[in-house]
Amino acid sequence: MATKTYCWAIVDAMREEMERDETVFLIGEDVGAPEGAFGASRGLQKTFGPSRVRDTPISEEIIVGLGVGAAMTGRRPIVEIMFIDFLGLCLDQIANQAAKTHYIYDGMFKMPLVIRTSSAVEMGIGPHHSQSWEAIVGHIPGLKVVMPSTPRDAKGLLKSAIRDNNPVVFIEHIALHRLKEEIEDEELLIPIGKADVKRQGRDVTVVASGLMVARALAAAKTLAKDGIEVEVVDPRTISPIDYDTIVDSVRKTNRALVVTSSHKQFGFGSEVAAEVQERAFFDLDQPVKRLSPPFTPAPFGKQFDDYLNPNTDAIVAAVHELVA
């Protein structure tokens, strides 16, 4: 066991997989010699050389496209898009090419491609670096979308993503990079598509993703003092969503709240609420609630982020409303 940050967990996952399989490589802006804009590729170019760990130009479309073409020809590329806000520059390669190639060509090509990207929502960097766009990729068939909330999940899911024969959009959060957790020394593979019940509880199910997981847990602690036992489910995989785990929990608690950093409208909250009410309607005592930032761009500055994004108090209040 060793204590690792989320960021080092990412580095370790890539290092282990690159050691294990020489077809794995990494490209992206500043990932090579500079070792990652956020340090998430520290030491990799030194170990694996400038051919397997390459700096790219600021060319998001071809960064993904290089991965698509390399994956079709036998490699397992990891490509980095620095911020998920830049998805609009490479969505065609992700949604029309990577996601559909295996399908269109009747299974003749595999697409073992990992698209690593980051959200910086709530970090005060302003409108072009504060979005949580998991719903956009979640809407595309043929993609898997993963969003780990802890170092251990990050490592185990990234290793699984690299070994997956399908395109995986792997969404980190810059603010989580410094989070620490003990991680076993043995090989760690966490299956894509499995939710994790981060806390057991009988009264309310809180489905939380990314940054919101820690807050949901903090809220659960507070609520426990009032005798309200919250079950916190972290889907970890945004697509496909592990509804079995979520619905099992709701069947037990009869109340559900979804907390996300992405907008409610056409977002993860709506997706989960819709499916949960369909599957567990007669088990629900209350409608499924959603807690999300309001439907505005994110202006510059922490005070706005603090105001716009759900915090622990808001989760506590929402749970109180649900059990009222």
């Binding site: 390459r54 073409g69 020809t73 090419q97 009747d106 003749m108 090509f109």
Partner: protein
């Protein structure tokens, strides 16, 4: 490279017949959907692919049949794919704009103009990492050269010295819009220098000229000397798709280009310069026509895929 000059002619005729007979099926209402005909551009695909082997890859676009045939895709499953039939090379899911065959290095067509260039660069990156001298080719149109992916691809290919040959088939039109209206300068090849790679304008209706230029580019790529942009000046005989009334150009312009028919030109070379006699050529033509007819019959008689199969193969195991 093929040593037999007749083999080159056979490939060109295969494409020519294929396009003609598909258009015929279309006219008889036997074809589902659009046909993006390759008629008139035969020298491009054949001249380029002549220098490639099965371990080299190509990425095609929406006008891909010429590329598929030139790279050696089996005729029956290719044609059946165009009809969306279960016997098609992709089981009929790809249809007219999408066929692929990893065994011979065909990485697929594309419904997105310019979408294939980055993918071809990715295949070139794989080849470079493999270090076995394989090359990657991207076929795309003049219209695609105006899309953002073009500049990104030229730059990365040059920066990394990728074994990539960028083949722009400049047929003067993108759908109904003439190239001249959408560019500041009509020679796409001239864009190469600014990105740091060689660019060359080639007569795309002269299969031997294409073959030579492509051969040089392929040689450079295999030797580790990096990418080349080839602009093949050619003409799309048909409309953007079959049925397009072609109001945007004159019948005279079309006739002038048909005078420069790439198939007829190479036929004349065979007769006049290579001393191959008319009878042998005619024989081969008949054989090719029959082969294509058989493929079309095969496709027409094949079943459609079972609709429920649409639910399969979204993900690989």
């Amino acid at each position: 490279m093929t040593q037999d000059p007749l083999e080159i002619y056979r490939k060109m005729m295969l494409i020519r017949e294929c396009e003609a007979q598909l258009n015929d099926a279309f006219a008889r209402n036997l074809f589902p959907g659009y046909i993006h005909s390759y008629l008139g551009q035969e020298a491009c695909a054949v001249g380029v692919c002549d220098g490639l082997s099965d371990t080299d890859t190509i990425v095609s676009n929406h006008r891909g049949r010429g590329h598929y045939v030139a790279k050696g895709m089996a005729l029956k499953p290719m044609v059946a794919e165009m009809f969306g039939k279960a016997t098609g090379i992709c089981g009929g899911r790809g249809g007219e704009m999408h066929a692929a065959d990893p065994a011979i290095g065909v990485l697929g067509g594309n419904g997105i103009v310019g979408g294939g260039l980055p993918i071809a660069a990715g295949a070139a990156l794989s080849a470079q990492m493999d270090g076995k001298g394989a090359v990657s080719v991207a076929f795309f149109g003049d219209g695609a050269s105006n899309n953002g992916s073009f500049g990104e691809t030229l730059n990365v290919a040059a920066a990394w010295k990728l074994p990539l040959i960028l083949v722009c088939e400049n047929n003067l039109y993108a759908e109904m819009t003439p190239l001249a209206r959408t560019v500041g300068q009509p020679d796409i090849a001239l864009r190469a220098a600014g990105y740091g790679l060689p660019g060359e304008v080639v007569d795309g209706n002269d299969v031997l000229a294409v073959r030579e230029a492509a051969g040089r580019a392929i040689g450079r790529a295999r030797a580790g000397d990096g990418p080349t942009l080839l602009e093949l000046k050619t003409y799309r005989w048909g409309g953007h798709f079959e049925g397009d009334p072609r109001k945007y150009r004159t019948r005279e312009e079309e006739a002038a280009w048909k005078e420069r028919c790439p198939v007829a030109r190479y036929r004349a070379v065979l007769l006049d310069d290579r001393g191959i006699d008319e009878a042998r050529i005619a024989d081969l033509e008949a054989q090719v026509a029959a082969e294509v007819a058989e493929a079309i019959t095969f496709a027409l008689e094949s079943p459609l895929p079972v609709a429920e199969t649409a639910l399969t193969k979204v993900f690989a195991a």
